[in-house]
Amino acid sequence: MLEYEFMRRSFVMGIIVAMIAPTVGYFLVLRRQSIIGDTLSHVALAGVALGMITNVYPLYTAILFTVIAAVGIEYLREKYENYAELSLSIVLSAGVGLASVLTSLGNTQGILSYLFGSLSLVSNKEIILVTALGIIILATILILYKKLFYMTFDEESAYLSGIPVKAINLYFSILVAVTIAISMRIVGILLISSLMILPVAASLIIANSFKKGLLYSIVFGVISVIVGLILSYYLNLASGGTIVLTSLILLIITIIKDIKK
């Protein structure tokens, strides 16, 4: 399997995504913002469509769109203070509307490979970009770990302890946006949020500290991607779907084990 160049690339990209998606997802789930993944992935679709019809590398336009959308969500969240989830619905509608209009404007045949993920099409350029962004995301989360923990736990007290809550929220939203854009090649736009949520859901059942919760989320994510990629290769299945179903099975096993305890 690893004698093929595209599989080696898939594993490198897969493992990077398997580490960043649950890491970002962990904070989103605990802040009750897990739906943001779905919203931004639909916006990423619009970005990909724009890239295709304008002949710009779709990953760039997807990153641009998701970052703008993430900043927009933060702004709208303040505007609709008491209906914060409305901000997600507004941006989701904008993303889907824009995506459907843009796909009808030009040649967007390749869009399916972004919807469900397509590892065989991953280029070296993509690997370099994803690796670089992946390292930046992981490093900054590590640096901001304590502050993010405090904000996740109790945002008001975090603010009053001197943490620049607003700036970190904005920065974190941008990280989420970039994570979604760079993960879409592996699991596909429609399944990205699953990779951000399912490993975290399994981790929450067994974790007894914040640090372990984050660690288990990453471990579950990496296992899902590795097992999913191997299964998809040998059984000739769609890689994105297999990865997500593997992480779902991991979650079910964790729940059953917990019930038996």
């Binding site: 640096i143 923990f149 736990f153 008001e156 007290s157 009053l160 943490i163 929450l204 007894n208 500290s209």
Partner: protein
């Protein structure tokens, strides 16, 4: 004369068209144990949030340690226990130790490792609040009263001079409430930390504090509980409330 450490001057605040505080003025002196009470929707929590700068007044000024609250940056001097803190669910994966340690090194961008002295300090504050045996426990598995004691420990880690608490005793049983008040008396008297506490339970709090601010219809009424007095709560809570005598 004792130092004024919180001063609210002619503050008004509205939510949209609904004016909830109107020209409110009050001050709190060092060492006070202050209760803020009032019926639901009387803007008790709003007043507390204004005092710490989480909300900005429509008009008027607020001073913390003689500095306008929007310029106040000496965060170590204040501890704040929000209402949100007690609302997280059982599954939240954080240990008591992690929660207390969150308040160390909140400034600066680069993270720092927690040193041995700080670890000892965590043990020390957990001992003060009598939660040292629960260090490794998941915070979500603690009772309401125990959680509040952990939040006190989180605030104490920075040696604050003043502690703001927003309804910490909602859903806490009487026995744990008494234990909590004993702890508050201890940190008020032994460590000389000024305490400001919002509560809906006037019966309990009026026996514990030395100053009481009653909020009603946008106004604030101050009751100094150092001398014999009674307040007519019918004016504040309506006809159903009987006259209540304070301890003096």
């Amino acid at each position: 004369m004792k130092k004024k450490i919180v001063e609210v001057k002619n503050v008004s605040f509205s939510y949209g068209d609904n004016k909830v505080l109107e020209n409110v003025s009050l001050y709190i002196e060092e060492g006070d144990f202050v209760g803020i009470i009032g019926p639901n929707g009387s803007a008790k929590s709003t007043l507390l949030k204004l005092m710490v700068g989480l909300l900005k007044p429509d008009s008027g000024n607020i001073y913390l340690f003689n500095k306008p609250v929007n310029e106040f940056k000496n965060y170590n001097k204040i501890g704040y226990i929000s209402q949100n803190a007690r609302e997280f669910n059982k599954m939240f994966p954080a240990t008591v130790e992690e929660v207390v340690a969150a308040n160390i090194y909140t400034k600066g961008i680069l993270p720092k490792r927690i040193k041995r002295e700080e670890r000892e300090k965590i043990d020390e504050v957990l001992k003060i609040v009598d939660m040292d045996k629960y260090k490794e426990r998941k915070i979500g598995n603690l009772s309401g009263g125990q959680k509040q004691r952990v939040f006190i420990a989180r605030a104490l880690i920075n040696n604050p001079r003043i502690l703001f608490m927003d309804e910490p005793l909602v859903g806490v049983d009487i026995e744990s409430q008494n234990k909590f008040y004993n702890l508050l008396n201890k940190i008020n008297e032994e460590f000389n930390i000024t305490l400001i506490m919002v509560s809906h339970d006037i019966g309990v709090i009026s026996n514990k504090v030395n100053k009481l601010f009653c909020l009603s219809n946008g106004k604030v009424y101050k009751h100094d509980l150092n001398k014999d007095m009674k307040i007519n709560l019918k004016d504040i809570y309506g006809e159903n409330m009987n006259i209540l005598f304070h301890r003096h």
